[in-house]
């Protein structure tokens, strides 16, 4: 399976330098279509995304992206708010809060 990356031209360039070939360049206007396209691809195992881009997505799509297991979406350079929310919902306690 492949590792893919999606994001702005600058974000993607670094990953190209690490050898990645599955690259989706997207700007704010077509980000939503591009990420859904990347997620529908069965050969992608891991999808690296810029955490800042995710914040601009509509809530339901962001939820879908973060809950996805095939591919696994790993946000880079963002805080843990998405996981924190999930933990809060499943366990019932905000586990991240106590250690701040």
């Amino acid at each position: 399976m492949d590792i893919a990356v999606i994001g702005s031209e600058e974000f993607v360039l670094g990953f190209r330098l690490a050898g990645l070939r599955r690259v989706y360049v997207a700007d704010a206007a077509n980000y939503r279509e591009r990420i859904l396209e990347a997620m529908a691809e069965p050969s992608i195992g891991i999808l690296a995304v810029d955490g800042k881009d995710l914040e601009n997505l509509p809530h339901n799509i962001r939820q879908r992206v973060m809950d996805s297991i095939q591919p696994v979406v790993v946000p880079v350079g963002s805080d843990e708010s998405d996981l924190r929310e999930k933990v809060k919902r499943a366990i019932g306690v905000d586990l991240y809060k106590t250690e701040e």
Binding site: I3, V74, S78, E80, A90
Partner: protein, 212 residues
């Protein structure tokens, strides 16, 4: 099941008793599963936290390096080096089981190529680009490990939620309803028994009166 839907007979009572016993043992097992999953989750959460942190720090470092490379060499040079790369990292996604739940096990083939086999020229490419490339390779490695842990964590959380809902449904809905139905059937049967006794006494009295 509503109380009024059950027919108060002995066979129904037996059936209800059997179902209550089954539900209770199921409830116990589910509760144990939930607790087991939560213990597992706490272990993985620590790892996930550390992983996120290292992804962020690696990312910042890599971004710094590539910015320096672009500033020194120009964007075109960095881009051309990036496009010239030959090796492509791939991952193999296997699976392992945690309490009967399949979680992915990601193994990456991230063989770091030496500068000579990378694809771009050694002389034309500066050390800054090489450094940036190294930093991103490291980030990629961290990302792959983070991916495994995060998926495991997401799966665990989903499973915990599901199990919790089942436990609660059994505890607060299924078992109380069954017990209520059982109490109703028992009460009705006792009531019928009493009615019968009275009826028999009545008949006996009548019989005696007729004999006299």
């Amino acid at each position: 099941m509503s109380v009024h839907e059950v027919t108060p007979t002995r066979s129904v009572l037996l059936d209800l008793k059997r179902r209550i016993k089954l539900s209770k043992s199921g409830y116990k097992i589910m509760k144990m599963k939930r607790d087991g999953l939560i213990i597992e989750f706490f272990e993985i959460m620590e790892k996930a936290k550390k992983m996120r942190e290292s992804v962020t720090s690696d990312y910042e470092l890599a971004m710094e390096k590539i910015t320096v490379a672009m500033a020194v060499e120009g964007e075109i040079a960095v881009k051309s080096a990036a496009y010239a790369l030959k090796t492509e990292p791939t991952v193999v996604v296997g699976s392992k089981s945690i309490m009967g739940m399949m979680v992915p096990k990601v193994e990456a083939d991230l063989s770091r190529s030496s500068i000579l086999t990378k694809g771009y020229g050694v002389i034309s490419t500066s050390a800054y680009i090489e450094e940036a490339s190294k930093a991103f390779e490291k980030l990629l490695e961290t990302l792959v490990r983070a991916a495994e842990i995060e998926t495991t964590m997401k799966r665990l959380l989903d499973e915990i939620e599901k199990t919790k809902r089942r436990v609660n449904a059994l505890e607060f809905k299924v078992i109380p309803e069954l017990e209520e139905a059982e109490a109703f059937v028992e009460f009705r049967l006792e009531e019928m028994e009493r009615e019968n006794t009275i009826r028999l006494k009545h008949l006996k009295r009548k019989g005696e009166a007729a004999a006299e």
